[in-house]
Symmetry: C2
Subunit: 435 residues, 2 copies
């Protein structure tokens, strides 16, 4: 195919009319398609229905150490759950605190505690004039929402195919002690789907931050969310790497079973060093008597061990793989060679990242919406919702059934084409006017 | 019986020896009795085992409005749960947010949010030089722990049989705008077991605080935790009373099913005005995508409605009533007329409050411990763990089986006698020395 930029204005105008007719045809179908969030599909949820059967009134809800899961207590979680989640997070059970149902909530609480009480004895951030976070972009909107809520200034750092631009990260954290953290989704990143390279992880672990209370917020949300059995990304385990680098307290690692068992009814956890754990527990024991141990036990009984969990994730992959492949196939089919968009081809996670021509993303998303397809808002992948290029769009293939997804992606590609032609034609017009 | 104060020194010394022998006999039995916390007994936990059967893989986990409880979403809780908990809390479903498993956590988050973001637009408390809370005493140690953790100054207010000393409360909140809250357990209070009188509730609702961001922290933890079918305390509903008084935003009401279904695996809630809810939701949507809806649905399916919950609480009462009655019977039997202690006789809740002679509580608790009986630490019922009279001891009858409880209370009464005699004899000695 010929790149649109090289097509004559007349030909583009003709094409535009043809595409308009197609678009109108979509509009007449009263579609209601939602690809806005990384929600598991009903098919995926059904995979975990066995969770509802593993504990019955005939079962003993007692842990191996005698803890009655039904009663109060167990501030940091039951041993069995720490072992399972430890294997999932690739850390020792001793380095884990099990929380409630949401790792987002754990991250929020971690920032909130740092605001009111600092980090391991540092000045509470609310007492400082300025607190900043580094935000690899494009990134996860709910991370940015937390830091924005607390008035923390967010600094964009470009995401490269290998992870955040480490030259920039190293320079910034070493020179500015108001920088207290960096948001990371290191594996099958949200939204690019890329994983950090070995070098990136090693450089992360070797950061020399000016602020002693700087921490890496390592949101390993998609650690075992592969699409393929063998063709998988591998990430160096960050806690161990930080320890080897002589920086044991540098990182908070977050994870949950939200996209493994049930979103909203899973279990979340933090993994970090002994020093950080002690610091956190001082607060945790004031905040709660303990999280839901029955649900922890339910997860342990359902998955058995990490092998059971990995097998379970293969069934998720069977549902997700055709969807990712369909998105990539349709994008390639419709847009390859046109020079109006690029996209990632992840091997896992929940997202594909699409970059349109500059200045087109908002219009594409708006045009999709007018035909009944809801995408993640353009700009959402940037702090303050401001994509300086207005080009990034997050594609979330998980929720719709495959047939709907294919329809949605065809509509999406159509909208990309229409908006891109309009942009090219408008640019030519204003160039002519200026000449 | 004769009051110890009127018994001769010689007789007291003889009695002391006899009691010492009894105490040694207890010590030789290697007892391990725990009455330190308000934990439901195993018998009570067994009452809720049906919870494990109401949802199976054959069941539809969908709400009446079509919400799939297994997936993300539902920030403020499912409608069915709001209706059930609304009936439990005596407020409309519209005034409720359902949280995770712990009302303590909700209270912590409420104070934490006020620290970082203020209340309905007020200055964040962390930006103020001084923040104070009123603490009716004796009270609940975990309330005091939250305010202490955030550096909030706590001011003791005496608990009368009718509730907090309202003359003092009214005077303080009207005159000092650094006073931002008051901790209340209004029904079957922790630890006295007393409930606020109608006049107290009415005066609470009519408070004229100097601080616009002052709120009543109304922890109605024992709202339906009666011991008797008819002889029950009744509390005026505070949200409605505040509305009638023209103070609709004055109160946050907290509750949970922790001592109804399973502690640690229940559901917690806040009930408050529309304005307060809006303020809270601004934060909540940053903190989480939603709490555990499957567990909310589990509670709804298990209890059915408020009548089912009330019937369930009658079964709890059948377990608790004999324990409360045993404590009161043994205290009366052993201590009536001796002038060395007073205690409350609640009609519900989880605690009985005991007041020893001044300066004896720590010694009594220590002496119990040396014979294998763990009581709540003396002083725990006061802010900063400091009981100015060293006299209050919280008795938690729920957890031990009845036989153990009876043994524990006999031992407790014995320790009260020994410590009281020692105190009287020491006082007499120092009076003689001074003379």
């Amino acid at each position: 195919m010929q790149a649109y930029a090289e097509v004559s204005t007349e030909e583009l105008q003709t094409l535009r009319k043809k595409l308009s007719a197609q678009y109108k045809e979509y509009q007449s179908r009263d579609l209601r398609l939602d690809m806005s969030r990384g929600k598991p599909s009903i098919e995926q949820l059904d995979l975990s229905m066995g969770m509802m059967d593993v504990l019955s009134s005939e079962d003993d809800l007692t842990c191996e150490d005698g803890t009655d899961c039904r009663n109060y207590g167990g501030l940091t979680g039951i041993r069995e759950a720490k072992e399972l989640i430890g294997d999932m997070m690739e850390v020792a059970p001793e380095n884990i605190i099990i929380y409630g149902n949401s790792s987002l909530n754990v991250m929020y609480d971690t920032v909130s505690r740092s605001m009111t009480h600092g980090v391991m004895g540092s000045t509470p951030w609310c007492k400082l004039d300025k607190v900043k976070f580094l935000c690899p972009v494009p990134g996860y909107d709910r991370h940015f929402a937390i830091t924005e809520y607390f008035g923390i200034e967010m600094i964009n750092v470009p995401m490269l195919p290998t992870g955040p631009d480490m030259d920039l990260v190293e320079k910034l954290v070493a020179s500015d002690d108001s920088i207290k953290g960096i948001w990371c989704v290191p594996k099958y990143s949200n939204p690019t789907g890329n994983s950090y390279s070995d070098e990136t992880v090693r450089r992360m672990a070797r950061l020399k931050p000016a602020a002693s209370d700087f921490r890496i917020y390592w949101d390993n949300a998609y650690g075992i969310h592969h699409l393929y059995d063998h063709d998988q990304d591998h990430l160096i385990e960050i806690l161990a790497e930080c320890k080897r680098a002589g920086n044991p307290d540098l990182v908070y690692k977050f994870s949950s079973t939200s996209k493994i068992s049930f979103p909203g009814s899973g279990i979340a956890a933090i993994a970090t060093s002994k020093n950080n754990l002690e610091d956190i527990e001082k607060q945790l024991k004031i905040q709660t008597i303990g999280h839901d141990k029955v649900n922890q036990l339910r997860h342990v009984r359902f998955f058995g061990d990490i092998h059971g969990m990995v097998e379970h994730m293969r069934r998720h992959a069977d549902s997700m793989r055709p969807k990712f492949e369909a998105v990539i196939r349709i994008l390639a089919q419709e847009l390859d060679g046109l020079g109006i968009g690029t996209w990632t081809e992840p091997k896992g996670g929940y997202f594909i990242s699409f970059d349109s021509m500059e200045g087109c993303a908002k219009d594409i998303v708006a045009r999709c919406k007018k035909a009944g397809l809801v995408m993640t808002g353009a700009g959402a992948t940037y702090p303050y919702g401001k994509d300086p290029y207005d080009s990034n769009i997050r594609i979330a293939p998980s929720y719709p059934p495959l047939k709907d997804l294919e329809l949605a992606m065809e509509l999406f590609a159509l909208c990309v084409k229409i908006v891109s032609i309009d942009k090219i034609l408008a640019d030519r017009k204003s160039a002519e006017a200026q000449a």
